[in-house]
Symmetry: C2
Subunit: 436 residues, 2 copies
């Protein structure tokens, strides 16, 4: 368990060194240390926040490094989170919780090697599909040379499926706002990657019907659909007439742009419309979607879809006065409820402290921008209201810490919490302080 | 239980009618309906948000109405919350939970009449003390006529102890920023009122030593001290050199202003410095303090001090892998934990929806201002970044709903939750979705 953060730190360190080499930079000289550290962390944590323009600041060598770090980071997150969740399931299984085991059996594979191989297969297939469509479109529709179209297709396929948010176009996907051949595969790739491997595994390998899906898969799929619909609806409703965003677009382009921008906060990080020009109401919803993030053991970030909806069920049970929290004929374990609460409140605390740290190091920021930036870093989304590049070294380091904690923390802490429940040797008498 | 919201609604309705009468307004004609409704709700819910200047818009009759509504609302909140918590304790006692009963015995008074009388005594004593100091100071130090000094002393004593935040000076306490004779009694009154009656009762009547305090009292007192120190420290550190707030003040005045402004977000609502001129970092902390609010069954609002610190203990227990949440040799009941979570997350949801509603009805607001305003209304604080008066009727109604839900909702919902736990007739098999 403790190896996970160390492994991530090691990859980030190697990435920092490589990006700080002179050949990684397009211009003269080498990238400053903090820039290299920030970009390496943003790549490995599949965040996509940038302090320099990926397209012009880095050389092709630097860009390949970013892509490789992204792929390593995305694979690492999926693999480690999946293996950890299997470990948790096994540990619970060993304790005789047969029902818990049956619930998790979709992932109860015999050896870790097979899990890793299957994750690699999923990634290779998904990224190849995206690559073919995007590269083909750039080659045929935009007169890119074949090799260049392939390179752009590969880079953005890796960026999308790993929910990384890096782009080789300085304004991300803005020039393709109405082009479904570019926006759709990248957005669908983001959504697929953010579902998480346990869900993909159950959907693709076990061939179970929805009625027999595990609670985790049902919660993730249904929750993701709800969040996508909310994102789509809010974008369309709030930004429809905004002259700086959707206003000038035709109806079909508005729909495509709403789908893309509604999905990207969770936590793709690419954008075909400038989030910085959106209305405060849209930004508020986007912050909420970013914080919730994607599915567990996927390339998406945030507190995770299951955590959010599980808490909604907890509140529902409390309001109805039911002693058990029941999701579709399954009672949610009380330890799982407490984990969800800890992950959610820990996330709130991290984002609040991060926002405060940004505001103290950069007093020129507004609360809106600081909150957006810190949630984007914590949830490894990579969207920005356009201020990341103006932050000083201290503020950049704040974001580095947020990205690392958001990516590695939620994965390992949740598993650690699930494993380390000690039996109580002594119980104190009960107290009931008045709440509310 | 259901009578509580109805009682509050009735008082608000009466207040609205009275404030809509022509004599209540200083100028010609009567106040518009929404203005009267907003002011009545703000008074009864002891919030203190204003859409018109209390000092100049209302006649002396209108101001007396506001004071009376505030006093009725403050007494009502304290009385109902205390009686409800006793009812909860009794119900639990009847179920044989002797320890829970012992914990709450400080409040296990024999008849509700005695509770109400003691609350009235506390209020009368506290408000008289504040009245004497403030009126004396205005009479002797500011050349107010004796009767006027008395009226001002009374109005602000009621406003302070009931955590109402209304002031007869258009700029609240700004002109008294360095006057400890005005600021200290009002701030101490706010702090005392926000502790809540159960805590006051235990501190004043039972004569128990701190070592024998109930968990509720210990959590409230220790938590309040922590929050006051945080507020004081943040104000002093962040605003020390801000030319628009603390900058021009001498050191002693800075300390006094920091104490006042640090205490008022929880949830006094008076101010001797303009919050609208503060730095975004200070505003972020203020929003957090407002959301947490005061003690249970007091005139303070928010999710309450106990709720916040109880959740901190839940997370601590989770991180340490302890099955029980222990606060000072007492195990917190699991139902209490779930209530705390529901109150806190319900509060987050209300504030988020309120903020969104404000932004959609008033697109000219920034996220910072909308969030500040909605949290101030939900937590019945009454501080503003100076935008309340510019809101349209729809946005004012949003705040009315937030004030009512924040004030009446947290009190009744928490009690309802504590009482309505049903035994489970059927248990489903357990599921453990992956969280985080
Ligand atoms: K991302
Ligand atoms: K107030």
């Amino acid at each position: 368990m403790r190896l996970v953060p160390i492994a991530f730190l090691a990859v980030i360190a190697i990435g920092t060194v490589l990006l700080a080499l002179p050949p990684a930079r397009a211009g003269a000289g080498a990238a400053p240390f903090v820039t290299a550290l920030f970009t390496a962390t943003s790549s490995v944590c599949v965040t996509g926040l940038t302090v320099v323009d990926t397209a012009t600041y880095w050389s092709p060598f630097g860009q390949v490094m970013i892509m490789v770090l992204t792929q390593v980071g995305g694979f690492g997150v999926m693999a480690m989170a999946t293996l950890l969740s299997i470990a948790v399931g096994r540990r619970l299984g060993l304790r005789g919780r047969l029902l818990a085991r049956a619930e998790n059996q979709a992932l109860d594979l015999n050896n870790p090697g097979r899990v890793l191989a299957r994750i690699a297969i999923v990634m290779a297939v998904a990224e190849s599909l995206i690559l073919v469509v995007v590269a083909g479109r750039l080659w045929l529709g935009y007169d890119y040379a074949f090799g260049r179209a392939l390179w752009y297709g590969l880079f953005h396929a890796v960026s999308a499926f790993n929910n990384a948010g890096f782009a080789l176009w300085s304004d991300s996907l803005t020039q393709f706002v109405g082009d479904a051949w570019i926006c759709l595969p990248l957005t669908l790739g983001v959504i697929a990657g953010s579902l998480g491997f346990p869900v993909m595994f159950e959907l693709w390998w076990t061939g179970r019907k929805p009625a027999r899906w595990s609670t985790h898969t049902r919660l993730t799929v249904a929750g993701s659909i709800v969040l996508l619909v909310v994102g789509f609806g809010v974008m369309l409703a709030f930004e429809w007439g905004n002259p700086d965003t959707f206003g000038p677009l035709g109806v079909a382009d508005k729909v495509l742009a709403a789908f893309t921008q509604g999905a990207m906060p969770r936590s793709g990080g690419l954008n075909s419309v400038d989030y910085g020009a959106m209305l405060p109401a849209t930004i508020a919803v986007t912050i909420g979607l970013m914080f919730i993030g994607g599915g567990s053991a996927g390339t998406g970030g945030g507190i995770k879809v299951t955590t959010f909806f599980l808490l909604a069920y907890v509140i529902k049970a409390e309001i109805k006065g039911e002693p058990d929290v029941v999701i579709g004929r399954r009672r949610v374990a009380e330890t799982t409820q407490r984990q969800a609460i800890s992950v959610a409140l820990g996330g709130v605390a991290l984002c609040a402290l991060g926002c405060l740290a940004l505001l103290t190091t950069s007093p020129w920021l507004t609360l809106e921008r600081a909150l957006f930036e810190s949630v984007s870093a914590f949830a490894t989304v990579g969207l920005s209201l356009g201020v990341t590049g103006n932050l000083g070294a201290q503020a950049q380091l704040v974001l580095v810490v947020l990205m690392f904690c958001g990516r590695v923390g939620t994965v390992t802490v949740a598993s650690a919490l699930a494993l380390n429940t000690r039996p109580s040797l002594h119980r104190y008498p009960e107290a009931r302080p008045i709440v509310g």
